[in-house]
């Protein structure tokens, strides 16, 4: 599971075109992993059709 997560993280870092030192990548991974439940929660919370983006 940890390997899968790291693979997912590395893919997201590449998609974001970030160039990181090894140290920064490890620190960011730790932070990303910790925040993942919140991000999953955001993505799982489906707004109503009438919920347009804030303007």
């Amino acid at each position: 599971m940890a390997d899968e997560r790291r693979t997912q993280f590395d893919a997201e870092v590449r998609a974001a075109a970030l160039t990181l030192s090894e140290r920064d990548a490890d620190l960011l991974y730790e932070m990303w992993l910790e925040w993942l439940p919140q991000r999953d929660r955001l993505r799982a919370t489906v707004p109503a059709l009438e919920d347009e983006p804030w303007r």
Binding site: E12, V13, A16, L18, T19, L20, S21, R23, D24, L27, L28, E30, M31, W32, E34, W35, Q38, R39, R41, L42, R43, T45, P47, A48, D51, E52, P53, W54
Partner: protein, 469 residues
Amino acid sequence: MAVSVGDLDLRTVSEAIGRRDLTSVEATEGYLARIAQHDRVLQSYITVMTDQALARAKAADAEMERGRRRGPLHGVPIALKDLIAVAGVRMTSGSQLMADHVPSRDAFVTERLHDAGAVILGKVAMHEWAFGRPATEGPFPTGRNPWDVSRAPAGSSSGSAVAAAAGLCAGALGSDTGGSIRGPASMCGLVGHKPTYGLVSRRGVLAMSWSLDHVGPMTRGVWDSAALLQAIAGRDPEDTSTRGAVTQDYLGALESGARGLRLGVLRRFYVEWSGLDPEVASAARQAFDVLRADGASLEDVDAPSLDVSMAAWAPFLAETFEYHKEHLRTRPEGFRESLRPRLYMGALFTAADYLRAQRLRERFRREVETLFGRVDLLVFPGQAAPALRFDEFPMKGLATPAMRYTAPWNLLGLPAVVVPCGFTRAGLPVSIQIVGRAFDDATALRLARAYERATDWHTRRPDPARWSL
């Protein structure tokens, strides 16, 4: 005048200057002397503007001699968070990348303060780029809590809070993107006011997140914050977010009391949260009783979207990443290691995440608007816990759980005021928070003043004898 300005609130300084019991030069020299005496330990100032401040103070006194007093801030020494521009004065944002940055133009709020006759005393410390962590070492330390110098004042407007609480200025301005005015104000026993988004211009203020940044006062008393807000609020043609700004008479409404105000207590999400410190919870409950006794009615209310508010806050860090992207690419070593990953995180939210957050933000707004059909103001504890020791402060992580007390209200841009409501057994200040309708900052300040008038927490001062390491 044989007065120690360090013991006074802004109102008392203002009134003494107005009565000509105190000159602006005397007040300014008084604060400069305290800075010289105490700031080696407190670390609240990055730049002390001695010559400019004394020149402004002399000019303010000369105007008074000619019979002209511009208003309540005339001659009153104020400190600015070091991301608010003063022309010709270094502005660092607490970052070594900006160590030599000198803006050529005043921020809008600086212009307004000058127009009001205020004396800018200096630029005060802050967390790096308004998103870093507390630091006692390095080129830009972030300040020590005057109630206990082994503790952090929280941030990011840390120096504003330390200087105002320690009497090293009469009041200060800070900025707030997720709680950076209200957090340190709570930890240092101050009133902290995040005004309605769009009421105060951000022009000339370095950004963290354009959508969520607010500039506002941090002071010992409610009147003090209202006077500062009166000076800095209003439309600025160069900041389009202020196009809809509606100003009010903030001082005029202050003494109207709590009677008749309907208050909604956000009990489930805030008062009953398991992470809330018991002493903060107890102080808040007692504060609610004071407000009830003062004539307000209280009922429990809820906004379900609070549960996803932190999840919806974080994608706005895409704005922060965008702001710093070039520096992160070319000079990553210019950021502290505690900040860099937090900035990079902003790159890992997708455009869909950002839009989902914007849609949930709108849903949250509708829920709260519905609540404001039943109540005039929302009230809840101002913080999760009292000030932490430096060695307790979480250096990792994107956002602390405690940010649930502040960050959701940046999403909605509503006026939010923290006011001191007691002290823990260890002598650390705690607060309640009051949230009002958009552009009705006056009613939030009115309730804060009603509470302040009924209690004496705001009269307590930290003891300078304890400011040693």
